[in-house]
Subunit: 111 residues, 2 copies
DNA sequence: CTGGATCCCCTATGATACTG
DNA sequence: CAGTATCATAGGGGATCCAG
């Protein structure tokens, strides 16, 4: 039985109210999200392309992460009704603006 | 028994090799880390001060996060052998350089 | 080809109690 | 005051099968 006052969820809420940085971190801290964004930006904009590059990933996880990213407004997807179905992913403006932050992070971690 | 080929650990390794951004994200994605860094920067540099501000946090979690941050080289701690014992935390250079990245993240999430 | 449904496992997070 | 030891839990990550 789930306790009505799940401290886990409550804490998350507290964090988001306390500081918007935590929201941002939440969005990008999914295990594969940063990588997916980077690869899409590099033109690997299909499900199967991403799957090949992120070799250890499972279909399910990739799908889940893509969905998350889409809901967070970082990527958009376009379904092309060919046979077989094709889906193109691309970064939104918000997704693109993340790239420079990633650059900063790379610099930072290397320092 | 832990499986020898824990895919979880392997994937993490894969990620770090693939892209150093993931390392950085790992360091800051602990649930309370960003907040702790920010508050220490604002002068809330004691265990009990942090505990008061981060009201929902438990001793255990706060201690663990502080330890993580220390091991990652983001904060340093100074033990002052008074009675009772006092411990001062402060940001290292690396910790301080994170602040500007947090600023970027705040801007980004607000956009 | 692109994923959803389902189930399992692990790890970070949390609560509580105890120590110097 | 400043933690550590122990135990419990939820949710993310993962594998496999299934579907449009």
């Amino acid at each position: 039985m789930k306790k009505s006052n799940s401290s886990n969820a409550l804490n998350k809420e507290f964090l988001h109210r306390s500081c918007s940085v935590n929201e941002a971190i939440d969005l990008i801290s999914g295990r594969w999200k940063a990588l997916i964004i980077i690869y899409i930006h590099e033109g690997q904009n299909r499900f199967s392309l991403l799957k090949n590059i992120l070799s250890p990933i499972s279909d399910q996880i990739l799908g889940r992460q893509l969905k998350d990213l889409e809901q967070n407004g970082l990527i958009s997807k376009t379904i092309v009704p060919e046979v077989p179905v094709r889906v193109d992913y691309e970064l939104t403006a918000k997704g693109k603006s993340l790239l420079s932050i990633f650059d900063s992070l790379e610099e930072w971690i290397a320092s």
